[in-house]
Symmetry: C2
Subunit: 436 residues, 2 copies
């Protein structure tokens, strides 16, 4: 008896979209290969808590193999995709390995973008990977350590000045968490400095922070940021980043800020794989490097290639591209799996439609804003809702309990168990020591 024909699906990327697709492709005759550079799925919305030492990397990461261990039709490959050969229908990895596909799901995600100033990356790290987060943690904690030791008042002031570029959700979360670290976590830790001398500058080019939210919520967020001692500078552009200095331009007024630590939360750009894929399939990426897709998330003329998540430019109901959010990616991943299933059964699939349940942004401990359907929530209630939603979403049972306890104890005791300075920082600027 001949074995049933198998359909080979290759998924590039184990983020929210790719992993969801892998989990939903249950049919035994569908042979799934999930390729990722890392061996874990990362719960990116909590990355800022790793960056500020509240959670450990393992709390927000689930090994891909362990999530997919019961899926016998699914294998995981650790590898770096260098080419999608659209003609031969093969994905090539850096080490020469090849994964042939019948259907390809590309979910390679995005990185932060420096708007053409890639030289800023070394000076102002962004927040997309575990390494980014530990690098940020290293710089932030190390700045306080150096400030404790220095005897030069101007150097001390620079060490205690933190500039965060971009007041979207990530920038606001980082600013709030940094304030918490400076005002509470490190309160009794130093002898020569008072950590609450720290200046936290949140710089936004647009007219307001968290601009996708309605005005009353933005006002609440601004009040909360002020209460957290975060200085918000709207309508202000960063025009230059140098070691120890940031140049701001507020509508023509130029200001030089002497700051040791600059964190980047200003923009994202799709994975470079998008450009390669677009060129191979004869479409054009948008300004953010995203690949335009049809209503069924496939590339025009290539029904066998599905693009989802941050890499896809998929029009929403208002005609604008859907935002790069986890719920969008997950719903697209689920849709991709359903599309493949339907095709194998010979059924049609209605176009993808994003169901927007709302979105939330955390400002600080006990403070958040959210737009859930028509409901506007803010303050402590919003924060509890945020906590509940995020806990429920973290994929592994074990992590969920651990994160809950870690959050609970850090909420009660305001301590940061994960604030270790480990590894070599990318920050190679010399320390200026001195004799106190």
């Amino acid at each position: 008896m001949p074995s049933p024909p198998t359909h080979r699906v290759v998924i590039i990327g184990g983020g929210f979209g790719g992993l969801k697709a892998a989990v939903k492709l249950r049919r035994p005759s569908v042979e799934v290969t999930l390729i990722d550079k890392r061996n874990f799925h990362l719960f990116q919305p909590l990355l800022y808590q790793v960056a500020t030492g509240q959670l450990s990397p393992a709390n927000i990461a689930a090994p891909l193999r362990s999530v997919l261990r019961r899926r016998r039709n699914c294998r995981v490959w650790l590898g770096d995709v260098v080419e999608i050969d659209v003609k031969s229908r093969v994905v090539r990895l850096r080490d020469g390995a090849e994964a042939p596909y019948d259907t390809l799901i590309v979910a390679a995600g995005s990185r932060h973008s420096y708007f053409g100033r890639d030289d800023w990356e070394a000076l102002a790290p962004g927040l997309k990977t575990i390494e980014d987060a530990t690098e940020m943690r290293h710089r932030v904690l190390d700045a306080f350590e150096r400030a404790e030791r220095t005897i030069d008042p101007s150097e001390r002031k620079a060490l205690l000045t933190f500039v965060i570029v971009g007041a979207g959700p990530t920038g606001v979360e980082l600013a709030g968490a940094l304030s918490e670290v400076a005002w509470h976590t490190l309160k009794h830790d130093f002898r020569s400095i008072n950590p609450s001398e720290a200046q936290i500058l949140l710089v936004e080019a647009g007219p307001k922070p968290l601009e996708i939210y309605p005005e009353p919520l933005i006002e609440a967020a601004q009040r909360d940021l002020a209460r957290l001692h975060v200085t918000l500078r709207t309508n202000t552009r960063v025009t230059q980043i140098e070691p120890e200095w940031v140049t701001l331009d507020a509508g023509g007024t130029i200001e030089q800020v002497h700051a040791h630590t600059v964190l980047w939360a200003a923009g994202v750009q799709a994975s470079p794989l998008g450009k390669q894929l677009a060129a191979a399939t004869g479409v054009e990426t948008d300004r953010a490097g995203r690949v335009p897709v049809q209503p069924d998330l496939t590339i025009a003329g290539h029904p066998e290639i599905i693009v989802i998540g941050d890499l896809a430019n998929c029009a929403g109901e208002n005609g604008k591209p859907l935002p790069g959010l986890a719920p969008v990616a997950m719903q697209q991943g689920e849709y991709a799996a359903r599309l493949i299933d339907n095709r194998l059964e010979g059924h049609q699939t209605a176009p993808f439609r994003y169901r927007d349940w709302g979105s939330m942004a955390v400002i600080g401990r006990g403070s958040a804003i959210g737009l859930l359907r028509r409901w506007q929530v803010k303050g402590f209630i919003a924060w509890l809702t945020w906590l509940f939603i995020h806990l429920m979403s973290i994929m592994q049972f074990q992590n969920r309990v651990l994160v809950l306890i870690q959050w609970g104890s850090s909420y009660l005791f305001r301590s940061r168990s994960a604030r270790l300075i480990t590894g070599e920082s990318q920050d190679q600027r010399p320390t200026q020591g001195g004799t106190p």
Copy 2:
């Protein structure tokens, strides 16, 4: 009114000995400066669990500042000591900063030793720091990942062969934990390989493992190791380590083992600071680089310099140097603080005497051996005792609860939440990929 005269104590190293001394120096007129390269105290006995992905770094590390936050007379300096100037009574840091002292406590610890073959370090990492542990974890997990992908049977066998050099407590713990990972944690995770094909070779130059224990306990340990599929090779020396190859010499019989991963657990050597200190004070270090101390732990002719922990060669009751164990260091740290207190009050202090409450070694999940006073314990009871003692010893409340839960869930579910492959490995050997 003149302020009371302060006595400046500088402590080099925030390990078990140095931290204990800092905690015990409570007198407000004693001004303590604790200098460490890292901002955390590391609970080294559990490092092997980080290396095998059972615990996260933060579970076994407590930020020094947070441990000492209520000690207003104690400050922490993050820095690298390059010189102890015995004449001027000043400690110099790499960045030029200086810490003058009235009494100096040197607790700089030890690193692993490659017996003159320092070129082996890159090929066979040891286990002393958090970075060592994450490096080991990287190599071990990556070996399984590569084995899953390779199509060359000989390469696959090498990738699944793990050689551990040295069958002291660390080597035995590592071998047992690795077996657990291969036989249980990764059981359902791969498609092309069966992780339990892994060969774990534990190589010991001496006649038996864990040699400080009595014969019945060693026999129990050997039985447990065999049950865990660990191949023990006693009376066997490692004579060469090359990429992918290890050469063993068993009393003249030479064997070449094709192995991708080699882990080093064979020996330790005192911090290089020991040599510098010995030269400056006119004493001679022993073969392991330790500084000989008087019965009161001071250096002969230098009552103001106290050496404790792994760096000290301090004779025990049998005349042999005390072993490099956490309880020894902690008791010495406590003694150092008492000595300083007594001197300030003009009292004499009896010579240091180590109270040996016993020692334990873990073999695997639910299996350990221990010698507690005259009691010999083994098996599950020993393991429970080990668990209890170690939980009670971990310094921070928060960590203790988290570790308990992480252990509990990993015991129940045999899963490894912390098995992330992060960062850049030091392992720069190329991957040989292939098309499966």
